[in-house]
């Protein structure tokens, strides 16, 4: 999961970045509506964590703008106001979920997983493809019931491919999922991770389409 955090308080923003990274997400953080708008226009995010009161305007305005240009990226609002009216106006502006400050980090992560799952059209918390079962809640994976050990990035790549098993994901797309802005991308990182994944879950589990990208192998 690649998450955009829009929050101007440096300590909370830093905490969200560190905390969501622990749950396997790649996090980009911005402080203003303007920067968030630019980030959303250039990169694809699995979800956005959006503070309502930002230095250069209201997060709700940004949300309406986003929905106005038919951007369906799931958005979770963070706000200090927790009256029913505020929640209603937040959700009616196009938000997918709503959390009042101060919140529980685990709850935030769970809600983010839920809205991302819903956006992908899945209701079950675990992702299944043939014998492979991924559980994003605790970053665990099993193949035919046998637990296997995946690194955070291997898990992220496999989850990205299993979100839509039929769809081909380019290397750039996978890199975007793996790395935030601050991180340097190693040139053959994706190939290395795919190689390791094949060793762990089976040679045919992931197909390579030369010059195009990767997708999940066919199931029997």
């Amino acid at each position: 999961m690649r998450i955009l955090v829009v929050e101007d308080d440096p300590i909370l923003s830093d905490g969200l970045r560190a905390g969501l990274s622990l749950t396997g997400a790649t996090v980009d953080a911005v402080e203003t509506c303007e920067d968030a708008d630019a980030a959303l226009a250039t990169s694809r995010y699995s979800a956005v964590v959006l503070d309502i009161m930002l230095p250069d305007g209201s997060g709700l305005e940004l949300l309406r703008k986003l929905r106005g240009r038919r951007d369906a990226t799931p958005v979770l609002l963070l706000t200090a106001r927790d009256s029913v009216g505020d929640k209603v106006s937040g959700l009616d502006s196009g938000a997918d979920d709503y959390l009042a400050k101060p919140f529980d980090l685990d709850e935030l992560a769970a809600r983010l997983r839920a809205i991302v799952r819903r956006e992908g059209g899945r209701a079950a918390p675990a992702m299944t493809h043939g014998a492979i079962v991924l559980s994003p809640a605790d970053l665990s994976a099993t193949v035919a019931g046998e637990p296997i050990n995946l690194s955070r990035r291997e898990f992220a790549i496999l989850a990205a491919l299993m979100e839509r098993p039929e769809q081909v994901r380019s290397r750039a797309e996978l890199e975007e999922r793996l790395y935030g802005w601050q991180e340097d991308v190693e040139s053959n990182a994706v190939e290395v991770h795919i190689h390791n994944l094949r060793n762990k879950i089976g040679k045919d589990a992931i197909q390579t389409l030369r010059g195009v990208g990767y997708r999940m192998g066919r199931t029997q």
């Binding site: 308080d9 300590i11 830093d14 980090l105």
Partner: protein
């Protein structure tokens, strides 16, 4: 009378009543004169007629004996007629006419009391025939005629009066309907419904009221919005640091990487420091708010206070602070605690906004100014700064939006003013404190 409807009704009914009464009096007086004239003319004609009739008889039959008085016929007893000889014998009289001579006058009109009743009499003398004719009628009868006339006028009026009253009552009610409609509309509203009352269809008399009401609604709405804003700002400024603390604490608990744990713990320490400052500022505001009396004034040396503040405020290596000699030497007639609060918050603001550059304190006549090299304040936000919890677009990451509110409160207590502007020709903010605003009024009092 508290009811507008009742008052209008009473006014209309009494006005109508007075007009009617005046009309009745007019008619009474007018017809009475007219009637007298008509009846007098009748008396006159009757007298002349009788005189001319009587003159036809030579040697009146009853000239020898009063017993032979002939009845001359009756005018339904309205008129009484007597014929007297000039030597004072009654020759004839109409039936019902009194025996007493009707009038002592030889000719013309006269008023008499006969048998206790007032009479109006006209006499005609005919010397050729040795006759004096007197025709009279009772004034009481005349009065009754006038009274009957007035009664005839009053009776229908009295019958119509209740109908008229009902019509006036209904019209007044109808006329006051716009007011009632407005009241119903206002009564039926939700407490937070601040929509304006429609003024385009309101009658001219109600419109000023509606316009005034709309003005009031606007002001109440503005006050409520301001209150909501402050509450929202306050909630944000108070809950965000708590959210940061909790998140960092949970990161510290969950992370296995010692570097991540350490980073989170350091952030927690910073967050607690910031929260402590926020609490201190909130308590300062609460104290300044509750203390309604002005602070006592005394000569205060500005230099030592400012030096202490500058020394106690941490700043990065790229920022320098200059205190002009004029400030160091300054002595103001003010309150040391309030001055310290104002200077400290302004200094902290300047340091927070100047990432790199110089913060300069200077003094003028009864004024202290501080200039920083920060980003300045967007022009559209200049009138908003100083509002509680308001933080502009170019906010520093550590502020709370309370500093300038405290400065303003503290300065108000010593009769000083704060002016904030952007520096001319370069980026940065200039804050100027002007003292002695109250001192002059205090001296006059």
């Amino acid at each position: 009378m508290r009811s507008l409807k009742l008052r209008l009704f009473a006014m209309l009914v009494s006005a109508t009543g007075i007009i009617w009464l005046a009309a009745v009096i007019w008619i009474y007086v007018g017809s009475r004169g007219e009637l007298e004239h008509v009846l007098d003319t009748r008396l006159q004609e009757a007298a002349r007629m009788v005189a001319s009739l009587a003159s036809g008889f030579d040697g009146l039959p009853g000239s020898s004996a009063p017993a032979a008085v002939q009845p001359l016929g009756s005018y339904e007893r309205q008129l009484s007629c007597q014929i007297w000889s000039l030597d004072g014998r009654m020759v004839a009289k109409s039936s019902g006419a009194p025996d007493q001579q009707l009038s002592p006058a030889a000719s013309g009109f006269s008023d008499r009391i006969i048998d206790g009743e007032p009479w109006r009499v006209f006499s005609v003398e005919d010397a050729d025939h040795n006759l004096r004719v007197m025709v009279g009628d009772r004034v009481g009868l005349r009065e009754r005629l006038v009274t009957d006339l007035i009664k005839g006028l009053m009776l229908p009026a009295l019958l119509i009066a209740p109908l008229l009253g009902a019509a006036i009552w209904a019209s007044v009610g109808q006329g006051l309907r716009p007011l009632r409609r407005m009241a119903q509309d206002l009564c039926a509203r939700e407490p937070d419904d601040m929509r304006h009352v429609a003024t385009d269809r309101a009658p001219a008399e109600v419109r000023p009221l509606a316009v005034a009401l709309n003005g009031l609604l606007s002001r109440v709405e503005a006050a409520r919005r301001h209150e909501r804003e402050v509450t929202a700002f306050a909630a944000h400024e108070l809950r965000t640091p708590l959210a940061g603390l909790k998140t960092q604490a949970q990161v510290a608990l969950a992370a296995e990487d010692p570097q991540v744990v350490r980073g989170a713990l350091e952030q927690i320490v910073t967050a607690v420091d910031r929260s402590a400052r926020l609490v201190r500022q909130l308590l300062t505001i609460a104290r300044l708010d509750s203390d309604t009396v002005d602070a006592p004034l005394a000569p205060v040396a500005v230099g030592p206070i400012l030096e202490e503040i500058v020394a106690a405020t941490p700043r990065n290596d790229r920022t320098t602070v200059t205190i002009d000699a004029s400030v160091r030497a300054m002595v103001l007639n003010t309150n040391a605690e309030c001055l310290q609060l104002a200077l400290r918050n302004l200094h902290e603001n300047a340091i927070q906004h100047t990432r790199e550059g110089c913060v300069v304190w200077t003094a003028g006549r009864n004024a202290i100014a501080i200039e920083d090299e920060g980003p300045g304040i967007p022009a559209d936000e200049l009138d908003q700064i100083g509002k509680r919890f308001f933080r502009g677009r170019l906010r520093s990451p550590v502020g709370s939006g309370l500093g300038l509110a405290i400065v303003k409160l503290a300065l108000a207590k010593v009769g000083a003013e704060l002016t904030i502007s952007n520096r001319e020709g370069r980026s940065g903010t200039r804050s100027e404190l002007t003292f002695g605003v109250r001192a002059t009024t205090g001296a006059a009092a």
